[in-house]
Symmetry: D2
Subunit: 345 residues, 4 copies
């Protein structure tokens, strides 16, 4: 059994890693850490796991972590993560980092939107863990920058079309909606039930830090710099993310060509489900799973392409994709631990 | 006191009309009708109104309605409405119709998306009841086509900008989100709690009948035919509608020019609230009110304009705007009956 | 116009007072205070009130409050309230206190469950503001201890039956359920959307401080000491409170006698609605209103009486009842400012 | 692999059976039936299962079912079920029936609350499938009457205490709360999102058909006829059930004795989790699992025992317990297919 550590296990992404790894047939969850809850029984933080997870939280001590793990998942805030990664790599651990610290190739882009990078030499070594696109590099990576939730939901429907030049990359607009778990476990007015219930709103309009992450990936794929318009919204639900993405079709491209491209790109991938014509994806149908469901319409009036994708922001948008990366890195079947059947409701 | 009748009072828009008119100081609610509930006490359908509304439902009989009312609100399905309107007008009643039957000037557009029109000669006579734009015509109208909820939320932020040619009308994309009450009172899988809760999804993509209504109004304002891309989504909440609208700015237009235009257009209007820079509208803040809150950002990356508006789909998107039209028609203060203070939460 | 001050206006009860008083025809809201938000525009805390409430928050300074108000509502935490009340009374103000500090007659009971009382001599002078029972004393009071939400919902159905000795006071069990706004505006894990959504649970079982408040009132009415079993639960909704109360009927008492008693007790009261046989109260039907709906069944199997009541915890359970008290104190119609029509949905 | 059929697979309990059986390592789901959806791909009814469940719905034909299954789950309405069971038993199938038709031993009790029984001779042969209590009989049964959701949640905490005579069976009151999925998949005003959201209410007070089911089991255990008071309530959430049960302690019984009794009764059972002192169960923590969490308090004021239990009404309250019964019947580990880790949130 591979020994896995989850660093920052008290947050939502960490908790979801704990859930998935606990049910993973090739992995033994050996360490969970939390600075806030060091010494505390993990199931007292998440009573749903009572009788299932018996570990106590350790402090975030790299030495302890290294002694007791083969693979390390970091579910830490940006900046904290890059402080730990070098020691883990030096100790020969393979690392999946869920923060933004190792998602960028461009140090300038990272530093413009986050902060100075303390180990920029590792940025190039890291692999952007969007498995359906970079799976072949993931296999041999020792450091994964696990994609953000919004980037995952926007890139999966778009990248194949950009690559085949079926849409004009200058026209991309991503209108995205996330459940509240995306805001994390911290209590605030933003996450107070009474402020979320019966509320729908855009936030961080024109300034969300997932924009440069999406743009770097689109630019890499398009071969030219791409700027997009991206607006995130908050939905009164716990889990789920929907992205409706708009783009102008290249001349001569029609609905059939779009289907052909997406089917070809995702043939054989276990987690992408393309919707039949006339059906649109629903966050409820991917809740708790690693699926990304994709639908689309060529708008009869304007001729624009309308792409829709849904994921569970905590699974394919975070912990599930992280485990999918681990599966690829260690040669397990890609779906191991990720094949739980979705709740029908 | 003006005597008001609500035809089709058992549906949600009808019920909201009943609520508002019951609290209106210049109006006496004299007739409520429902084919399904004829003879039934109205408060047995909506027990919230027990002890407040004492009427029984009548059948939809035009003669009875005419004998007992001065103004008639029709909250009927499309097509049923146009069957009743001529008799009401012949009897000298002033009519506010909440269906789509009298919203269009173009018979072709109406018939292409609905059905043959049985009294097309009234289409021109009717006034499109978007009060902030057509208020001066509403004053003397005897037939109002009360705007759809999506059109209201999309047109209010856009029309002043279109009129002053600040945005390119060929680039408009409206990504809209509605609470479940927009689907009406009918029970179906779509409105079942277990299918809505934790669900977010687009629906009727590329085919919603509010598209031609929005396009006719935009075209009228722009002076050229306008086609837009419009995608409605369903949000797990009862009331509320948010529209995020994207458009390319005309050359030389900046954020300040947008503010100037909107402030000028809506100065002195009681129901439009423009958000300060950096604040974005939230459906929770207009719940139960006739307000439309509007915010915007010029996207720093792409340069596109991002407009956001929120309304309560049942109030400014239906019953509230209908009462606002009546207020204008009868010379009441525009806010009479619509000045209830919003719940802070 | 009577000038009213709301002290502690940033909390939920305070905000609801602001909403109701803003729509009150006999009152001018003259002062709102908040230590946390002193100097801040009130509508920036509650944007729903933008354009409606133009006040800035003052600090909680008694002198300023006294200079600018005739009646003072205190929506402060327990203990803070009793520090301000003497100065307000000395200045001749009439005071409605929403904390627990002046609800008790028994100093021992108060101090056993809260803390030492700093002005115990005022406890006897204060009137317990359950209007339907103590209205005649409220009229001439200068200090009201506004009832807790749970006590209001439990006492209204029970007191008339206790008084007429129709139930055995030793057998009372109150199983109560509250929306999340009852937990207040403070952000915590308890009020985090992701912990409330899809969650139902009991809390503070055997130890909630509303127990002694209910027991003092029941004992006063029964003429003997009464102990009850009271269990509060948290419901995933913003507003609303339901209490299901169980008691053994006195010998010979039947359903008809219960109806007779409640109808007699509440004849002519504007806010109590007794349900017809076979209908049960629903929190949705009192949302935003000062109503208390009461239903009951004599259980065919066990013969026990099952009483059900619903209120909006923020209105009849807090701010609405406080305004009702003020109306009585100043000779206004009891329903002034409280006659807003409920939303049908 | 054991071949399993789910009859009535389009309802919620049926769908949950499909979910659980699809992930069951010893079972192959071979047949799903639905009269309404005969011939339809199952995953078009429940798109969450797209790519996971490949079956089409058959009609409810016993011969087809018998040819293709070893064990049959019936998720049919009451009465329909008893029409199919004899044929299945005659064909040698083992049957788990989720309707009420085979839960009762007393024909009189069944017929008083349901309808005439068409195969009453099978009522005695059937085993009441409350696994923690009747597991030893389940092992050899060929017909299981799978318990109702409310009975499961009420009986699990109560039965050990009744058996050891720690509480007075004449004093039992069960105040129970259920998520909306308990009302089934049928669309109605009751399940309409807009009527459930922000609503909490009691229903079927004094007349719910789970009362006689609970009473038969309690009577059997107590050795004397037991009548209880049972009130179900509807909670605005999809899944989950909480029961707060009140009873008078027998003389001399204290909190320690209650703990001892429950710990002894449930030692070694995999699905009962007893809460530590001062912690109360929460439906969120058992969502999607077969757990029943039980907590309790001896009320310091009244001395009454307050028991609280939570289950997922669709899992331990229906499909999960049905699979647990199957596991026992076929000698599988009791937790097979039921060991999915709960979502931490």
């Amino acid at each position: 059994m591979l020994r896995a550590a989850v660093i920052g296990a008290s947050g939502y992404a960490g908790a979801e890693l704990v859930r998935i790894l606990t049910g993973h047939s090739r992995v033994s969850l050996s360490v969970v850490t939390s600075r806030q809850y060091a010494g505390v029984a993990y199931d007292s933080i998440y009573p749903a796991l009572s009788g299932v997870v018996g570990l106590n939280c350790d402090d975030n001590d790299p030495a302890t972590v290294c002694d007791n793990s083969d693979v390390v998942f970091l579910a830490l805030p940006h900046k904290v993560s890059m402080g730990m990664v070098p020691a883990l790599l030096d100790a020969g651990k393979r690392v999946v980092d869920l923060s933004a610290d190792f998602r960028f190739k461009s140090r300038d882009a990272y530093e413009a939107h986050y902060q100075p990078h303390s180990c920029a030499h590792l940025m190039e070594r890291s692999v952007y863990g969007l498995c359906e696109r970079y799976g072949s590099q993931v296999v041999s990576a020792d450091l994964i920058g696990n994609p953000g939730c919004y980037p995952t939901s926007v890139l999966l429907p778009l990248l194949p079309l950009i690559e085949e030049k079926l849409v004009d990359p200058a026209t991309i607009i991503a209108d995205c909606k996330s459940g509240v778990s995306g805001a994390g476990r911290g209590a605030s007015q933003t996450t107070h039930f009474c402020h979320v219930n019966e509320s729908f709103k855009a936030y961080k309009v024109g300034g969300h830090r997932h924009t440069p992450e999406i743009e770097e990936q689109l630019s890499r794929c398009a071969g030219v710099p791409v700027k997009i318009t991206f607006v995130p919204h908050l939905v009164p639900m716990t889990r789920g993310m929907e992205s409706t993405v708009y783009a102008t079709l290249s001349p001569g491209v029609d609905d059939g060509r779009i289907r052909q491209c997406l089917e070809s790109a995702y043939r054989g991938t276990p987690f992408i489900r393309l919707m039949p014509r006339g059906r649109f994806p629903d966050t409820l149908h991917v809740r708790g799973t690693n699926f990304c469901d994709i639908g689309w319409v060529v708008d009869p009036g304007s001729g624009r392409l309308i792409l829709m994708s849904v994921i569970d922001n905590l699974v394919k948008g975070a912990a599930g994709q992280a485990v999918q990366n681990m599966n690829l890195m260690f040669g397990f079947d890609e779906t191991t631990g990720l094949d739980g059947v979705a709740y029908p409701l």
